[in-house]
Amino acid sequence: MDIVVLIKQVPDSSEVKLDPKTGHLLREGIGAIMNPDDRHALEAAVRLKEAHGGRIVVLSMGPAQAIDVVSEAIGMGADEAVLLSDSAFAGADTWATSSTLGKAIEKIGKYDLIICGRQAIDGDTAQIGPQVAEYLGLPQVTYVFDIEAVTDGTVVVKKRLEDGYEKVQCDLPALLTVIAEVNRTRYPAIGNLIDACGEQAPITIWNAADIGVMTCDVGLAGSLTHVIRTFAPKGGRQTQMLEGDTGTVVRTLLEKLRENHLVLTDSGVLSAECREGKLS
């Protein structure tokens, strides 16, 4: 059972702040960590390896500092790591990210399963897994919270739905995206971490040329979407205290709500409607 695990290094905070002037991410003072879902993806892979044998290769695209998350992955039990690092990869949108990862997976070549996290806590799109599967023409199951069995070239998994779950059998090779519920992760083994830092560490770094892509097809240049402006939504609040007896206060409140196109729904919860929304 050969498994490729996709791992992203993300800022150690789910509340990514933006520079109000440039719209760039403010990363100063925030450490970098392995994306939390990806830790579960790797744990799932290590457990499959423990049960069925095989090799685990982790793959990450990111700047040179992302070496730390692939080293940590070796600590947790990955056999090998590939870091895709090249200034040409910078600024990739999800298309450029997934096609670059796809190219690298083609170069890795041998795999029965690709496991990713469902979502990265910074980019937050949850698109990479599905897009990589499309790129490689593989079946995919997303939101996996239980990997039940791997037998005869198929995998049986449970996938979380809003109001229940689906049990899916899927031919291998396939791509899974997992959620945190799938397992409890282990801490890296100290000896493996030390190995991951040594000269002989099984870590390879690939640039654009190594995976045979043109720099115009990756990173910002290869992205199909272009960000015009990035901004943080204004979270400010205006408070107005209503005065008078209860009747007056309630009447004024309702007027104000109508003025602002806010309505009281059947369940009694206030919901914000769009400007041309119906009034009750």
């Binding site: 282990r186 100290i190 493996n192 030390i194 830092c197």
Partner: protein
């Protein structure tokens, strides 16, 4: 070639363990006062105990700097677990590793590395504390082994240990030169354990007396060459002291972190107490103490790794960092006001646990005496 820095990577990884598994539960674990078996086994699985032994020989392939890094992080979370872990990584297993037969290693050392067996180290006796030369537990040579008689006390992990490394006298006339270490398995007939001591701090480290009555051990259970006991002990003394200093750094960091958080939260006279210069002075002093402790400790740790004799540096580090930990805990009980006196908040634990650091590896009176001598007095 790009590679991660092992010290950073291990520190980060252990910090995540400490923040998730220890910090939120430390109070509860301490209150229970039991040997933390599950955490101990988890550290074993993580390869923490093997950090200072080479990988090819069953360790994790680290060194003293990495060992100190781990000790420091663990102590930031829970001093008793850090103490147990340090015992398992160094004093409790070192002589088995260096002098044990393959059979002994297979039976005791490797399981200890995996967290399946608990190790400990028995020097102190009722009449021999600082004055180890006075140790009188006797090992008498028989035809095919030794018979051990005597009593050890203050044995960390004593009540739960699977094997004991015991300092014995084989020839009382030779005093220091007659001291030797022996491996005594816990199931040796004649070995009995006393009741666990009621302790002020580090309440999860279980400590008791161990009595040896005609305990027979085979010849290969003598660890190290005849008469080499004190020399072998001296060979790890600098590392023991450096490790203790690292534990003290962990406690300082825990106290300082809690104090900063509390000073930002607690408001009196219309502002948070962080605004008051007398509180700022305490925080500043703690921060300076911490930085100085780090410099002394990691300097000594690097010297240990480079095989440079450093008993002086290690003694200074242990003395300074431990005293600084006592000051930090003391200041924490003040910054927290009355809550520092409550068993519900962390300062009381730091205040009790820091005392543990004062005795092992040499009391501060002994250290000061030696440092003065080395300074030229």
């Amino acid at each position: 070639m790009i590679r991660s820095n092992a010290e950073n990577l291990i520190r980060k990884s252990m910090a995540r363990f400490v923040d998730n598994e220890l910090v939120p539960k430390a109070q509860e674990i301490d209150e229970k006062g039991e040997f933390p078996r599950e955490l101990f086994e988890q550290l074993g699985r993580m390869g923490v105990f093997g950090i200072r032994y080479p990988k090819a020989k069953g360790g994790s392939g680290g060194n003293c700097v990495l060992f100190c890094t781990v000790c420091e992080e663990l102590a930031r979370g829970l001093m008793s677990l850090a103490a147990i872990s340090a015992m398992q990584s160094l004093m409790g297993t070192n002589f088995l590793f260096r002098f044990g037969s393959e059979e002994i290693k297979e039976k005791y050392f490797h399981p200890a590395m995996r967290g399946e067996k608990v190790a400990c180290f028995c020097l102190t006796e009722p009449e021999a504390g600082s004055d180890l030369g006075n140790a009188s537990t006797l090992a008498v040579r028989t035809e095919n082994g030794f018979l051990i008689n005597g009593m050890k006390t203050w044995v960390t992990n004593g009540p739960v240990a699977d094997f004991y490394t015991v300092l014995c006298q084989t020839n009382p006339e030779k005093k220091f030169k007659g001291l030797n270490f022996f491996l005594v398995p816990a199931d040796t007939p004649g070995l009995s354990r006393g009741k666990p001591f009621d302790l002020l701090g580090t309440r999860n480290t279980k400590i008791c007396e161990i009595a040896f009555k005609d305990c027979f051990v085979p010849l290969d259970h003598m660890l190290g060459g005849e008469g080499q006991g004190m020399t072998n002990l001296l060979s790890i003394l600098a590392e023991i002291r450096t490790m203790t200093a690292a534990l003290a750094i962990g406690l300082q960091r825990a106290a300082l972190g809690d104090c900063i958080r509390y000073a930002h939260e607690r408001a009196q006279f219309g502002k948070t107490i962080a605004n008051y210069q007398l509180i700022q002075a305490k925080i500043a002093n703690m921060a300076v103490d911490l930085e100085a402790s780090r410099l002394l400790t990691y300097k000594a740790a690097r010297m240990v790794d480079d095989n440079i004799p450093c008993l002086t540096e290690a003694s200074m580090a242990k003395y300074f960092a431990t005293e600084a930990a006592c000051r930090a805990a003391d200041q924490a009980t003040r910054i927290f006001g009355a809550y520092g006196y409550s068993m519900e908040y962390s300062p009381q634990r730091y205040y009790r646990d820091n005392r543990f650091l004062l005795y092992g590896g040499g009391t501060h009176e002994i250290l000061q005496t030696n440092i003065a001598k080395w300074a030229g007095l």
